[in-house]
Every structure is written in C-alpha cells, then in structure tokens.
C-alpha cells in the first residue's frame, strides 16, 4: 500500500486506548518505514494525538503491540523510548521555562552526548554538549537568543527551540504533533523548510491540520476518524479518496 516496502522502523498492531467508555484509539494498525515521512490526518477528536502519545509512551495501550526497530516496546516507559530513538514535539511547545534556550538543548541532548560521562570535564561539556547545542540553535534560527530564558521566548521561538531539542536527541523517529499550530505565515514557511531538510535517516510521523504542509512533506498519509483507521496511502490517492471526504464531511456535520 505504501511506497516504502522496506522493513518497518515502527509497527503498531491493533493498538487500543480507552478513556472510560470512549474508545480514543480503536484497533489501529500503523507502519512507519525507515526514512519515511508519514502523516496522520483526520478531524478533531480522531485520536491522532492519542496515537502519538501511545507511540511516545506518554500513555500506555489498553490492547495491541508496538514494535520499534524489531523490538517490542509496548511496556517501555517514555524515558526508555526516548533513549532508543523516539523523539517528540508536543502540540503546545514543551520547553523548560527557567532554563536558557541553549540549556534546553543541552538537557535534551544529554543522553546522546554520553550522559554523565559526557560532562566529566568542562572541555568535554563544551565539545560534546554546548557546541552541538549552539550549532542546532543556529540551524533553527535561534542563535541570537541562545542565552535568553525560555520563559521569555515567543510561541514561535519555543516551537523552533523544541525542534532543536528533539534533534539534539538524534531520534530515529520524530513524532511531530501539530508543529504549525499557532505559528505565523513566515514561521510556518521556515518550519516547512526545516522539516524538508531533515536527513533521511530520521523517520517522521506528523500530525497536522495544515494539509498543504502534509501534502508537501509526506510520502504516506494515514486518515483517522473516530479512533479508527479510515485509509492509508500516497498523498495523491488520499487527496481524492471518497472515504476521506466522507470522514471530514461527517465531522463537519
């Protein structure tokens, strides 16, 4: 069905998540191939964010399995999943407000730099953590505010900072939850460039309402509705699929 027939990096098999009587995610199957850009779309309440939470480990599944890189991660906590290569960007930019921008990136890239071993000497800290962090800030366009406390950054800047933080963790799979939400036109443009420039050894699972962004970026698009998977395919197929139009039309009605 997808353009990527290679071995999947992430496989979700019949995952279920319930909140009381509400089934937020209902037996959804999902495969993300190595290097693939995979978009999740669907009307509000379709369960997209919940599905990302289940994959990132922020919430646990009520049924089904999740495999990452050939390994069953269903029972692993979020910290373990982050260390084996699942990075996450949240719907509301989650940065550490009392740390400066560069400190945010340093803490996020901590484990990639070798944990406590990476900071044993000042020179090592500089070389392994501080300098790469500054380079990442430069890449997302935040070099000028590196020593500003994150609490004093604008929403758009926090979004960029969170992307730098996610990249500092050198993820193999990047979970993006509505990265364009609340950004200005210029900022969205910048974000699209940044995402397009991501190296192909990073796979991306993107939840986004801006369909122009989705169609420009994604190799595969999966449509969710009421917690169920409606269809999955290449952007061109999805754009014209009647099932998709029905899903959105129902949500509007």
């Amino acid at each position: 069905m997808t353009a990527f027939a290679t071995t999947p990096l992430l496989t979700a098999e019949a995952v279920v998540r319930r909140y009381g009587s509400l089934v937020a995610v209902d037996r959804v199957d999902l495969r993300v191939a190595d290097g693939e850009r995979h978009a999740l779309i669907g009307p509000n309440g379709a369960g997209k964010t919940t599905l990302l939470d289940l994959i990132g480990g922020a919430t646990r599944v009520d049924g089904g399995r999740i495999r990452f890189d050939g390994r069953d991660i269903t029972r692993l906590g979020p910290a373990r999943r982050a260390r084996i290569g699942i990075g996450r960007i949240h719907q509301r930019p989650a940065v550490w407000p009392s740390l400066t921008a560069v400190e945010n990136v340093v803490v996020a890239g901590w484990h990639q730099a070798g944990g406590f071993r990476g900071v044993r000497t000042r020179a090592r800290y500089r070389r392994r953590l501080r300098e790469p962090a500054m380079a990442l800030l430069d890449r997302v366009g935040l070099a000028g505010v590196a020593s500003t406390t994150a609490a004093h950054l604008s929403h758009g800047e926090r979004r960029q900072l969170e992307i730098a933080m996610a990249l500092a963790g050198r993820p193999r799979l990047l979970l993006l939850d509505e990265p364009a939400a609340g950004l200005s036109g210029v900022e969205v443009h910048r974000l699209a460039e940044l995402l397009a420039e991501l190296p192909r050894d990073v796979s991306v699972l993107l939840v986004e309402h801006r369909l122009d962004l989705v169609y420009a970026l994604a190799d595969t698009v999966t449509v969710l509705h009421d917690g169920r998977l409606v269809t999955s395919g290449e952007p061109d197929e999805i754009r014209n699929a009647p099932a998709v139009r029905r899903a959105y039309a129902e949500a509007v009605r």
């Binding site: 910290a79 940065v95 407000p97 803490v107 963790g169």
Partner: protein, 356 residues
Amino acid sequence: MTPAARRWLVRAGGVGLLLVAIALPWSVDAYTTSLFARTLVLGLVGVSVALLTGLAGLPTLGQTGPYAAGAYASALVAMHVSSVGVVQVLTGAAAGALFALLTVPLVVYARGVVVLMITLAIGELTVTAAGRWTSVTGGTDGLAGIPAIQPVWGMAPLASDRARYLYTLVVVGVVIAAMVMLLRTPAGLLLRASRDDEARTRASGHRVTGYLAVTFVGAGAVAGIAGSLLITAQQYVSPADFGFDVSALLLLGVVIGGAASIGGAIVGTALVIAVRDWLSGLLPGYAPLLLGGLFVLTAYLFPRGVAGFSTELANLVRSRSRGRTGPGDRPGTGIQGRPSRGEPVGAAPVSSGETR
C-alpha cells in the same frame, strides 16, 4: 535592574553578610554567640529544605529526620569514640544520608502536598522514636555531657562559644560552597528541568525519579551534617530539637527566603529564628502571630521570597501599571511544587487542535 547589576548586588550582599558573620562573636556576648551558632545550624537544615522544596520540587516537612539521625549519631560518636570534628561531621553526613536512603522510596514517587504529608509523618515518627529509644537516645531527657569538639586531630578542644561558633561557620560555609558548586554544574540543569516540566524531561530520556532520589539522599547528608553541628554548638541533644515546630519554622523560613535560593534559605531561616527567639522576648506570647503575619505578607507580596524581591517588585510595578492585579506569574515560584501531570509551566496557551 539589569541581570549583571543584580548579580553584583547579590554578591556584594553575600560578602557583606559573611564579614558580619565573621565579626559577630567579637561584638556580642557569649550567650548571643551560641544562639547565632544554633541559628547557623538551623540555617543549614533550611538549605537542605530549600534544595528539596525549591530545586527538586519536593516540599518537605521531614528534614528533621536526617537532622536528628545525624545529631544522635554524632553525639554517640563524640561520647564514645572520638571528639574529632572531621569524624563527627562525616558520621553526621553518613547517618543523614542513610536515613534519607531508607525513606527515599516513600518520597520520590509522590508529588506536591502528598510529599508534605509523607515527610511530616517521617519527621513525627523520628521524634517519637527518639523519645522512646531510651537506651540509645536517652529518651526525652536527651543526651547531656557531650565532650567539647576538637576540629582536627591534635588541636585543642574548642572551649569557648566563640570558637564553637567559628567552627560552625566554617563547616556551614564549606558545605554550602560545595553545594553551590555542584548545582552550577550541568547536573544542576537536570534538576531544574525536572522541576520545570517532569514529563518533558522524561520524554528526553532522563531518569527523573533517579535524580530526585540522589538529591533527596544528598539533602539528607546536608541535614545530617547540620545535626553534627548541633551537637558541637549546644553539647546537648533531645527530641525537642526535632519537633514539628522546628519543621514548620524551617519550611516557613525557606518560603520567606525564596524556595529556590540557597542564600535566601539561610536569610529566611535566620529571620524566622530571630522572630521566634528575640522578638518573643520583647513581646511575650506574640511570636507565632508575628510569624503568621510575616508568612502571609511574603506569600502575597513576594511568591519568590526575599531572594526574588527585586524581580517581584519590578513585576508588581509593571503589572499594576498595565492594570493587572497581583504579581506576574513566573515559572518556578514559591512552594507550588511540581505540576503533577507535566503541564508546561508558563507555556503559551495556544492550541488550535484536539486535546484528547
């Protein structure tokens, strides 16, 4: 005030306070000097409370536990083993750390007010145990006749209140300098990140519970050292030194001083002890009332305590001129503890999509 000017002012204030602290025993009588020594000791316990409350986000009423463990262990060592200060301080630190290590599983999985209740229980149980375990602690009579301390091997025992005060000042100074240096390393960043947004810190692969456990044990060691200094300062120990009123005063002092500030913790604790000990002499019976008033005033006007005074004042002026009431909401204020479900503090409330 620019940050640089503020930092300069804080540094100048710190040096000034230190000079006053050194000159103090030559300008007041012996009894007042010994009171100051005990204030320093409680200030150090206050620092360990601030470390947990403000930096780790675990508000505690139970630091009297490791404080008592360190005090009794040091007292026993002083009476039966060695009168050398180094030995006693290390014994106190080890006893405090061990106490914290035993209680750490009860604390690090809880957050906020629950921590407050659990640590309160730990503190109360410790006092009860100290009162009942007569063969070791001397029960409610306490342990008296503890020999005078000699700081290092070969030195003469410290016979005067002035010498004991200076010894206490040196040890407190060394411990605080070590703590400040440790918190300035990148490890301090991890602690602040965990307090700011725990879920986010986990999502970056950090073992937050482990960091909190290490901090809790470290704070226990600091409180244990304070316990050994208590033995030096008053040469007597009883369960009354570790009662609930002491825990409450410490937390009050830390909140007044600014929960996230080590310097503020000492100033706040000293202020609270001063109100309790000296003003109660001038206005007998009114000390609790004064403390209560001080607390309400601080909580309302300066949620970041004395240490956050200038920032808060600036915010207050700014927000009043903008027509808002109350001080501006800033991250990491006061005793709020950590947000239990990882809501990012101070994140912009912009969200255009689903939230479930």
